[in-house]
Amino acid sequence: MTNVVLPPLGENIEKATVSFWFFKAGDKVNEKDDLVEMTTDKATFNIPSPCTGILQEVLMTEGQVAHVGETLGIIEEEPK
């Protein structure tokens, strides 16, 4: 299991809002695919998939506010 975590986005940025997921739970994702887009202030920020596998669970859905370090979703890694 690999957690998709909201990375640090800069000084004094504690949180960001989920704008949307490019995939839904159950979809296969490849490493570096655009996975989820976040917004903060007048910027959107894309989080790529950290690995190849199945997007197991979406924990933070559209419009929800996530804090830096928080898990947005979980990927079941494909065995290598």
Partner: protein, 210 residues
């Protein structure tokens, strides 16, 4: 230039920057009349039916940039910085504040004192907003960017929308100076300011004049 063509071009430059084939790149252009919706835009902030806008020759696009509804037209200077923040500073708000800084410094060279608003991104004067900012970031590389209102004539079209979902007045460099502004002169200054603020020895820029 059509918004759609400019977006395609931005993405081409983005790919080159992402692959490391290009360093910091700046696209300068003007747009044909267009209303764009950023990710937090609400359709209700476009105050006219799309059919009527179409008749006026104004296109409507949804884009991946941050922010609400805005208008772009030929009387604005548009700058799209395609920069790798991993090589500058991985800080989204820092980058937004630096873009404001650039516009403020640019306006100062024309004798105009503009300021930031701590709660609202963009650049402001007594009479209203003169510059709007909305960006997107992928793999820490920026695209989309900023617009500066230069010509007076274009401002009327802002009445077609509620910019950024608010009832705000817009102003332009011409309205402030009360004289005609040469877009080419502003472009030159803007490139200088980008280099100064980001400490670039050089910035590759594409100036699209159509």
């Amino acid at each position: 230039m059509n918004y759609k063509d400019a977006l395609w071009f931005q993405k081409e430059v983005f790919k080159a920057v992402h692959l490391g084939l290009e360093g910091p790149s700046l696209i300068l252009c003007n747009h044909n009349p267009v209303i764009t919706l950023g990710r937090t835009a609400k359709r209700e902030n476009i105050l006219f039916p799309e059919l009527e806008l179409e008749k006026k020759g104004i296109e409507v696009y949804e884009t991946e940039r941050g922010g609400g509804v805005t208008y772009h037209g030929p009387g604005q200077l548009i700058a799209y910085p395609i920069f790798n923040l991993a090589r500058l500073k991985k800080d989204i708000h820092w980058f937004l504040r630096e873009l404001e800084h650039i516009v403020i410094d640019l306006l100062a060279t024309f004798g105009i004192q503009a300021k930031k608003n701590p709660d609202l991104t963009g650049v402001w004067l007594e009479k209203g907003k003169i510059s709007s900012i909305g960006i997107a970031i992928k793999h820490w590389i920026t695209f989309h960017g900023l617009s500066i209102n230069l010509k007076k004539d274009d401002l009327d079209n802002f009445q077609l929308i509620r910019p950024c979902g608010m009832d705000i007045r817009m102003t332009s460099l011409e309205s402030e100076l009360n004289k005609e502004v040469d877009i080419e002169e502003v472009k030159k200054e803007l490139i200088v300011k980008f280099k100064e603020i980001f400490n670039f020895t050089s910035v590759r820029y594409t100036d699209i004049r159509r």
